[in-house]
């Protein structure tokens, strides 16, 4: 059963006549990890907002067509973590606990959810720090932890590794893979095609507000550095998208 269904969906931002997003049909099933990619301005972020239900209800604008979302309050993470702080929490723990506390859960459950989320992001040591004084990378992990603490069925992330170093970015994408295997649905917009391809179960490529490719990452994503090298070397498709896949392919070929 689909967690997200869009059918003949057309979204326009307020004051702009041309559609920012046009989707003939999109079904996302429970437990899928969908990588969304495309050139800047192609509508990836807009797709996330529409697919999570926050556009147009919060962003404004108009949505035509059919949309169905079978998820309790989807969690959303942007590429700019400093804009996602509540502004009223003075410790990281309170910041991460904000979501579950908003649900009115008992204090013990709220704290347990916040501690568990920080633990999963490897950010537990930041619990007593002031969020306003964290580095970009630390903050990025904190806002992802805040989203996780809400225990969402649907997690939507817009370039969540923008502020992370390569090692932390690897760990974050591995975590997204784990979350999908646990049965959560994950949509991640990213220019980091190689990392996304490594964990995603499906990839969407957008151009000028339309989905131009939809399928398994290996068949849809072909613009990683590794894929370009493989193509130049005459490697037959589907092209390996990351170093691990390239090494495996070379080993296979002897």
């Amino acid at each position: 059963m689909s967690v997200i269904r869009l059918e003949r969906a057309v979204f326009r931002y307020a004051g702009r006549p041309e559609p920012a997003l046009t989707v003939e049909r999109l079904d996302v099933a429970r437990g899928e990890l969908v990588a969304v990619t495309g050139p800047i301005g192609s509508g990836c972020s807009t797709l996330l907002l529409v697919a999570s239900g926050y556009a147009p209800s919060i962003t404004g604008g108009t949505l035509e067509g059919e949309r169905r979302i079978e998820a309790r309050r989807p969690a959303l993470v942007f590429a700019t973590p400093w804009t996602q702080l509540t502004g009223i929490a003075h410790t990281v723990l309170a910041e991460v606990a904000f979501g579950p506390a908003s649900d009115g859960l008992p204090r013990e459950q709220v704290l347990a959810a916040a501690h568990a989320a920080l633990e999963r992001l490897g950010a537990h040591h930041l619990a007593s720090r002031d969020p306003a004084l964290l580095s970009g990378g630390e903050l990025q992990r904190v806002v992802v932890a805040a989203a996780l603490a809400q225990q969402p069925d649907l997690l939507v992330l817009d370039d969540p590794a923008a502020e992370l170093d390569p090692e932390a970015a690897d760990r974050l994408y591995d975590l997204l893979g784990d979350l999908a295997r646990e049965g959560r649905t994950v949509l991640v917009a990213t220019p980091d095609v190689a990392r996304a391809a490594h964990v995603a179960t499906r990839a969407l490529v957008l151009e000028r507000g339309r989905i131009v490719a939809d399928g398994v990452p290996a068949s849809v994503l072909s613009e990683t550095d590794v894929a370009r090298i493989a193509r130049a070397a005459g490697c037959p498709g589907p092209l390996p998208l990351d170093v691990a896949a390239l090494v495996a392919r070379v080993a296979e070929a002897g």
Binding site: W82, S102, D103, G104, R107, V110, Q150
Partner: protein, 252 residues
């Protein structure tokens, strides 16, 4: 510096409503009195509050900065240009009722500014959030109040970041007053526009995290509110009511 200053004073540890109630009482009482002596006693009370909380250094500078221009205007308006009888004071002829009026108005401003800066320096926004949440106050008013309380420190931090970035690109902030004024433009524009742009994303982030869910939020660390403090706040209400009753019946 305007904003919370960490400390261990009794008022720092008190329920956040207590320092706010003290500041509110100073405000209401300073308007209840209309002669210089009791009004300046309110200034003294506010100063004692700042001294007792160990925030006098942080409070006095901004308080003088905020109040002094008003004091000078009041002195000119009422003292120099006020009605007779006038008395010589150095090279000036000062209006006696005008000076009394300036002292009352200036005292009220001083008392209010010092008391609220002391309360601001004493009340941790996080404890205030928890205190209000524990009382079942919805998130909207809490956010509005805490955003107001933390507006100046946050704006100052943001301005410092923008200033560093602009200086790195060659902005010079020294020189003549005109040159300094010109340097304000590349600081103020990104400050205002950046803040407006970030508001949209923050609203979205708060929404996704259930800020407007309508469910009563769970306070994480609700501050204790001992009976003694509740009695103190009730006492302040009584004092204010009595003072205003006396004022309205012309007894003070």
């Amino acid at each position: 510096m305007i904003g919370y200053v960490a400390g261990r004073s009794w008022l720092h540890r008190a329920h956040p409503y207590t320092p706010l109630a003290l500041a509110a009482a100073v405000l209401l009482l300073s308007f209840a009195f209309h002669t210089p002596v009791p009004v300046w006693l309110m200034v003294a009370a506010a100063l004692i509050m700042a001294l007792a909380t160990g925030t006098i250094r942080e409070v006095l500078g901004p308080a003088l900065l905020l109040a002094t221009p008003t004091w000078l205007v009041l002195l000119v308006l009422h003292g120099l240009l006020g009605e007779p009888p006038k008395a010589p004071f150095g090279p000036f002829l000062l209006s006696e009722p005008g000076v009394a009026r300036a002292l009352v108005l200036g005292g009220r401003i001083g008392a209010i500014v010092i008391a609220f800066l002391a309360a601001l320096a004493t009340v941790s926004p996080a404890r205030l959030v928890d205190g209000m949440t524990a009382r079942g106050i919805p998130f909207g008013p809490i956010f509005l109040l805490v955003s107001t309380l933390t507006f100046l420190p946050r704006t100052r931090e943001r301005a410092a970041r923008i200033l560093e970035a602009q200086q790195a690109r060659g902005l010079r902030i020294g020189g003549s007053p005109l040159a300094r004024f010109r340097a304000l433009v590349p600081l103020v524009l990104p400050l205002v526009l950046g803040a407006l742009a970030e508001v949209d994303e923050q609203v979205l982030a708060l929404e996704t995290r259930g800020a407007t869910s309508g469910v009563r939020r769970t306070p994480l660390d609700p501050p204790a509110d001992p009976a003694g403090q509740r009695v103190l706040r009730l006492g302040l209400v009584v004092v204010v009511v009595v003072a205003w009753a006396a004022r309205l019946t012309n007894r003070i």
